[in-house]
Symmetry: C2
Subunit: 248 residues, 2 copies
C-alpha cells in the first residue's frame, strides 16, 4: 500500500526512558512509538527522530517522522497512539507531509531549554526537572559569555564525541537567552541551526563555570578557539535539558 510521510509532535518525561534511541529491551521513546504503531498497523513501522535525546532529557516538542499508509485521519491516529503509549510520552499532533520529509534530514533548526535551579535548597518539585546549583550565579557574566558563543563557530570544544559528527563541527547559534524566574530557576534558551552531540549540556557546563566566577568570558573564548574538548568544563546533567522545538 502507498505510504505517506507523517510528522509527529511529541512530548516526553525524561526519567521514564533510556533516551530516544532503541536499545532493546530498555524502555526508549523510539521503542514505545514503534511498538504502538505495530499494534495499530499490524506491521513494523520505522520511526525517525529529529535527533537523539539522552536518558533523563525531556522533550516539549520533539519531532519524529514515519512512512505509513494514509488510512486514518491524523486526529484519530493521535488518539490511537496515545492509547497504546505509556503516559510518559504523548503524541501532541500529527500532520501529513510531502514526499521526502524526514524528521532529521529536513530539520532547519532547533531550540533547547536548559533549567538551572539556582536555589538552596532544591525545591522538591524540581527533582529531575532542573540542574541544582545552590550558590548564586552571576547572570551578567553569564550573558556576556553567551555572547561569545552566539554566532557561527566550530564547536569542537563542546561536543563529547567528535567522531560521532560525520562532517563538520561548525554550527550557528542564533541566540542564547538567560532568564531568571521568580522561583529562582534560570532558564537558558538555545536557538540554533543544529547542535552537536551533548553540545547544549557542554555549553551550559561552561556558562555555569562563568557564573561561578571560575572562568571569565575571555577564558571561554579561548576554550572555543582551541577546538578541543580537553580543558573544556564538564558537561551539565541531563535532567535540566528540554528539547523545546524543531524548525522545518
Amino acid at each position: 500500500m502507498k505510504t505517506v510521510p507523517h510528522r509527529l509532535l511529541l512530548a516526553y518525561r525524561g526519567e521514564d526512558f533510556f533516551g530516544w534511541q532503541r536499545q532493546d529491551p530498555d524502555p526508549t521513546v523510539q521503542l514505545a512509538l514503534e511498538t504502538a504503531f505495530q499494534k495499530i498497523f499490524n506491521h513494523p513501522v520505522a520511526v525517525a527522530g529529529s535527533g537523539r535525546t539522552d536518558r533523563h532529557v525531556h522533550a516539549l516538542g520533539q519531532v519524529a517522522s514515519c512512512e505509513i499508509p494514509p488510512l486514518h485521519p491524523p486526529a484519530t491516529l493521535v488518539k490511537a497512539l496515545n492509547f497504546h503509549l505509556p503516559p510518559g510520552v504523548r503524541v501532541l499532533s500529527i500532520r501529513r507531509e510531502k514526499p521526502g520529509f524526514h524528521a532529521r534530514f529536513s530539520a532547519k533548526g532547533k531550540t533547547y531549554l536548559y533549567r538551572i535551579a539556582n536555589t538552596d535548597p532544591l525545591h522538591p518539585l524540581e527533582i529531575g526537572r532542573a540542574w541544582h546549583v545552590p550558590r548564586p550565579l552571576n547572570l551578567p557574566l553569564m550573558r556576556q559569555a553567551a555572547k561569545v558563543l552566539t554566532g557561527k563557530h566550530d564547536f569542537a570544544s563542546f561536543t563529547s564525541n567528535p567522531g560521532y559528527e560525520r562532517k563538520s563541527t561548525t554550527r550557528h547559534i542564533r541566540s542564547i537567552q538567560i532568564v531568571k524566574k521568580k522561583s529562582g530557576v534560570l532558564e537558558l534558551t538555545f536557538d540554533g541551526n543544529g547542535f552537536l552531540y551533548r553540545m547544549v549540556r557542554n555549553l551550559v557546563g561552561a556558562l555555569a563555570k562563568v557564573g561561578q566566577g571560575r572562568l571569565s568570558p575571555a577564558d571561554l573564548k579561548k576554550i572555543l578557539k582551541a577546538r578541543s574538548r580537553t580543558g573544556a568544563p564538564p558537561t551539565a546533567p541531563a535532567e535540566g535539558l528540554y528539547l523545546a522545538s524543531v524548525k522545518y
Copy 2:
C-alpha cells in the same frame, strides 16, 4: 533544657509520602521530620503541622512547629535537617517564635492552589502534578460558581467527614481565583480562614462539574445550602492540590 517554639517553612512532593500525618511505618512527612530532629538532638521532638495533607498532595509552603532548645542558629538547623531528610521534602526556612506559637492553633488562614490540566492529551510533565480533565471547561461559568462559594458559609456539603470537625463547619473563603495558563493548565487559588477535611478537593470537584455544564451556579448554591455531602459532586483527585501558604 529550656525549649523555644520554632516555625518551619516546608515544601514537599506529594508522590513521595503517604501524606503529612504519621502512620508508621509508612513514609510520611511528619515521620521524616521527627526522624531528622531525633538524629540532630538525640531525643524525640514532636512536630505539629498547620494541618494534615493527604497522600499525593503537594506543599509549596506548609508550616510546622516544634519546641526545641535554641542550640543552633536557624540557618544551621535548616542545613542539618535537609541533610537528614529525603529529597522529597525540604525545609525552606526556620524562625524562632514567641511562647505559645503552634502551627495549627495559631494559624489565621491558608491558601491552596489546585491545578487542572485542561488539555488533551495530558502533558507527560504534568503527571502527578495536576488533575487531567481533557474536555474544555467553561471558565466564565466556573468563575460565576466561584462567587457563590466565596464568603462565610456552612461548608458541610463540602467536607468528606463531618465528624472529623469538632466544632463548626462554617468557614470564610476570602477569594477564589481561576486563571488559565498558556500551557492549558487552570490554576484555582483558594484563600480562606481555614478549610474543612478535603474541602478544597470537594469544591474543585463541584466547580469542574459547572465547567462541564453538568451543574449550574444556581445548582451549586442549592448544594451549598443543603449542608449535606449527599448529592454533592465527587472529590477532585489529590495530585492537583498544593498547600501554598499559611498565614499567622
